[in-house]
């Protein structure tokens, strides 16, 4: 059977992609950030999964205001990186895993999650920047990726509790797939940042640190945190962090005791407007 081996959490700041695409990763501004991902790239080499279930949010790219799915699962075979206005990122196309994606969709819809199935969409920096951070520049991503887009743009966005429970349902779904695949679940976005209004540039290191601590040790209670706390304390775009709870809910201990092993933890301010947080948790 398939199994979830680990979860990865990372910010997905567009400027990080730009820095990599323009070869600026060694510059003083960027070097401290990328050095925090050196260990992660080695870890990815040692722990390449067959499939990444990549939770991210679309930033008004694939979904305009015509249609806004709360949860959309990519069941297609390929997903092209989008032109977000600055031209397409020079990164490989994303290969999907239609069989596993369809299986997960079927399982979690029967489990009362009202997914939208998407067979064709372009993917933006929310999905490609985490891949770039974890794999570096490459001709082809080394594994399949199932894009899972969460609406965190137009309110109401799904609650942390809903996201956490969805993660648990995804775990059950993966574990009932009858092929021996190693699957990682990634949660992306955050940490504290605000891109709008006179409060733009907000960073809350103390809050972010507590979020990482609780995500590791006490995700169940963290999942109860209301939206307003994210917005007030971590900035309007800090709400993206609810997506990390999907990945966390998919870890083994969410279904029982046993805190996962912290393989890596990193935090850095700033990347453009944003506090960058990063965790790798392994199921033990």
């Amino acid at each position: 059977m398939a199994r979830i081996t680990a979860s990865v959490y990372t910010s997905h700041v567009p400027a990080i992609g730009v820095a990599m695409d323009l070869g600026k990763t060694g510059e003083p501004y960027w070097q401290p950030l990328f050095s925090g991902y050196e260990k992660s790239r080695q870890w990815m080499k040692d722990n390449t999964p067959d499939v990444i279930f990549l939770v991210y949010n679309d930033h008004a790219t694939a979904f305009s205001l015509e249609i806004i799915p709360t949860f959309a699962i990519g069941c297609g075979a390929v997903f092209k990186p989008a032109d977000e206005g600055w031209g397409r990122r020079p990164v490989p196309v994303v290969r999907g895993h239609p069989e596993l994606a369809a299986h997960i969709a079927q399982s979690v819809i029967q489990d009362d999650f009202d997914l939208t199935i998407v067979n064709r969409m372009e993917v933006d920096h929310g999905l490609t920047v985490p891949l770039s951070l974890m794999f570096g520049q490459t001709e082809a991503w080394p594994c399949a990726v199932i894009p899972f887009a969460v609406n965190v743009v137009q309110y109401p966005v799904p609650s942390g509790r809903r996201c956490y429970n969805l993660g648990r349902a995804i775990r059950r779904a993966v574990e009932s797939f009858d092929r021996p695949l190693k699957v990682q679940v990634w949660g992306t976005g955050g940490m504290s940042h605000q891109l709008q209004g006179p409060r733009a540039g907000l960073i809350n290191r103390e809050w972010d640190t507590a979020f990482l601590d609780r995500l590791i040790a006490d995700p169940e209670s963290l999942a109860q945190m209301p939206h307003i706390d994210y917005v007030r304390e971590a900035g309007s775009e800090g709400i993206e962090l609810v997506m990390w709870l999907i990945a966390r809910g998919a870890m083994g201990d969410a279904a029982g005791p046993g805190t996962p092993r912290v393989a890596h933890r990193f935090y850095h301010v700033p990347a453009s407007n944003t506090a960058v947080g990063h965790l790798i948790l392994e199921n033990t």
Binding site: A60, W86, N204
Partner: protein, 150 residues
């Protein structure tokens, strides 16, 4: 509407809810159109003519032409949509975000390098943080306006 909106009490912050989305529908859909290179070119060639193709209010069109992102947001725009305008102008997210604070590009960048804007005083209206209405615009521009600096 009887649903609560606790997020109305966060200074310097507009939450893009259904009400804002309805207000800004065509403004945001205009922004979406800028994802196509040919539309970016047409917009750049004649902003007014391109904007007139959209069912936007005159206020929204003026705010776009003035690149007044705070005003665009007040009129229903969302930053991820509005970012297409910035992209068309070759601006980064940092330049766009900074423009909404009144700070110069350098002032905003330096604030970020120092660890970003502090949360203290910026949680609720009525506190005294730098994002509060009575402290706008921020940076040197604001100090000059308020007579604190020449």
């Amino acid at each position: 509407m009887a649903l609560e909106k606790p997020y109305k009490d966060v200074p310097g912050t507009t939450i893009f809810d259904a009400e804002q989305s309805r207000l800004g529908y065509w403004l945001n859909q205009f922004c979406v159109s800028l994802m196509k290179p040919e539309n970016r070119a047409r917009f750049k060639a004649n902003e007014r003519a391109y904007l007139d193709e959209w069912a936007m209010t005159e206020e929204q069109k003026q705010a776009v032409m003035a690149r007044d992102l705070n005003r665009c947001i007040a009129l229903g725009g969302n930053i991820y949509f509005l970012a297409r305008i910035g992209a068309t102008d070759g601006k980064t997210y940092q330049q766009m975000a900074g423009s909404m604070t009144g700070m110069s590009e350098e002032e905003y960048r330096d604030m970020m390098l120092r660890g970003g804007r502090s949360i203290e005083g910026n949680r609720h209206f009525g506190e005294n943080g730098d994002a509060q209405p009575h402290r706008q615009p921020q940076g040197k521009a604001g100090r000059v306006v308020r007579g604190e600096e020449a």
